[in-house]
Amino acid sequence: MATVTLENICKSFGKTDVIHGVDIDIADGEFIVIVGPSGCGKSTLLRMIAGLETVTSGEVRIGGRRVNDVEPMDRDIAMVFQNYALYPHMNVFDNMAYGLKIAGKPRAEIAERVAGAARLLQLEPYLDRKPRELSGGQRQRVAMGRAIVRKPAVFLFDEPLSNLDAKLRVQMRLEIRQLQRDLGVTAVYVTHDQVEAMTLADRMVVMHAGRADQIGPPLEVYENPATTFVAGFIGSPPMNFVPVGLVGLGAPEGTVLGIRPEHVELVSGSDRLHGTVVYAEALGAETLVHVRLADGTLATVRQDGTAPTPPEGSDVGLIWAEAHQKLFGADGTRL
């Protein structure tokens, strides 16, 4: 159990700067999800916490202790890798016991702790198997077990679910959350999947081009995105962006109005905003209606599955409650 603090972290590979000053304060027992598109530096950030990557400038603290120059093994962390990184020549038991054996724990304690983890993860029937004899989900569990048995202060997850099929991913997502709550361990979880981020995080960090655009609880980030990037990345379908000129708002040049698809309503006539229905996606519970506005931008309206869908090509008006609209400046930040 420990806090993790990142202070003005920068990272360059040679002459390329990949992370430009990130500050994150992680509380004891908190589940933090770092989310962002590929190449935004989220994995590099995690690897710097793990000690697998050097920190160019700034400070990493775990439990208040500066760990910039501390070896990974001395940081009291455990990491679950995207490809699980199981030891292929060892069986499940030895995979989980490896760290404990190196730490010189007595045999009885090792056996007990591995058995405990195996029970928790339903791995008991597979302890004698090699990793290649396991399914993807089971391998994932072994990787989790290997992290659990060492009772680390911090769990690090590097896209642990991206190699699993959709159904298993949902199931493992719940298990990871449950496990982290039960153990009360601080967790840092990296993913590119915003659904994972929304469902797992106590707070999420939205990374964009080497910067943390926004840090906050998932719903807070969803409701109040700090930048157009966050607004477009979090939420599916993403927030609609409408140039203010189209809606006749007196705002400076380049200002953009953002409105979530579920907050827009279709009406037959409106003096606010017009568009032509391009097509509608009926998803059962809801229907996504895509509307082309006067300047060519596409807007999405999310309406109830039972609501009548306007025919393609028809002219519709769009209305919304003013409380839901967000204004972004020309540089993409909230006004």
């Binding site: 793990a50 000690g51 697998l52 070896e71 990974p72 093994m73 962390i77 455990a78 990491m79 890798f81 995207q82 490809n83 990184a85 199981l86 030891y87 292929p88 020549h89 490896y98 760290g99 190196i102 730490a103 290997r146 060492r150």
Partner: protein
Amino acid sequence: MEKRVSFKGVLLPLLLVLPQLVVTAVFFFYPAGQAIWQSLFIPDPFGLSMQWVGLGNFDYLLSNRYYRASFATTAVFSILVTSVSMGVALFLAVLADRLIRGSGVYRTLLIWPYAVAPAVAGVLWMFMFNTRVGVVTWYLGLLGYDWNHVLNEGEAMGLVVAASAWGRISYNFLFFLAGLQAIPRSVIEAAAIDGARFWTRFRTMVFPLLSPTTFFLLVVNIVYAFFETFGVIHTITSGGPQQATTILVYKVYADGFVGQDLGSSSAQSVILLVLVSLLTVVQFRFIERRVHY
């Protein structure tokens, strides 16, 4: 599934494999047959007649103490050559694997010795360690060490082992480096997070995961030490002093072409033929099925 090309007739496929068959027949089956045939006879000194002795040549060889000594010499020689060349190659490969910048240059330079023919390598080493004009001998003399591999059996063995292993390091290095680079980086990182320091990681992760490569090289290097080191030994020591570096292959030559005992020489070739067949079987049995981990 492997891809198979199928032919309609017999003529074309036969024509396609014919060159290989001819080469094998002329350079392997014919001489091997000759060796087996001749090993059953003793020719007279002028080669005018041959006398049937059955397995007499083998009988004589196996009870001959020089031949048995040559077996021991070969064992010592091949164990030394294999362990030195593989050990040094593994060490260099581990270093090169850690290197990011300039690894291409190191790799290229390390591969060069492989391009040097054994006989040429032998001559190079012979000149360096020549008892009268050798550079290394001269420096050793300055240090107060009197190097003379012409008289000292241990030094002679050391020299041919060094010369044979040197040319082989490149080959082993390439395989070890490829093997090291095939180990997923994240496995090593996971071990590091689990608390394993460099040496522990090497012992418990890298070395076991490298075992298929190691086993393959072990067989290939033993075969090399047994059969392909003739040139090195011939140029440096000619099997001397006092047969201290006469390995089995060299004895085939020494007895047959120098001693003119063609019957015994043929019998020795047959024994070597059996040995190399055994090694090939081992290689196919284990390597084709892979050493599992």
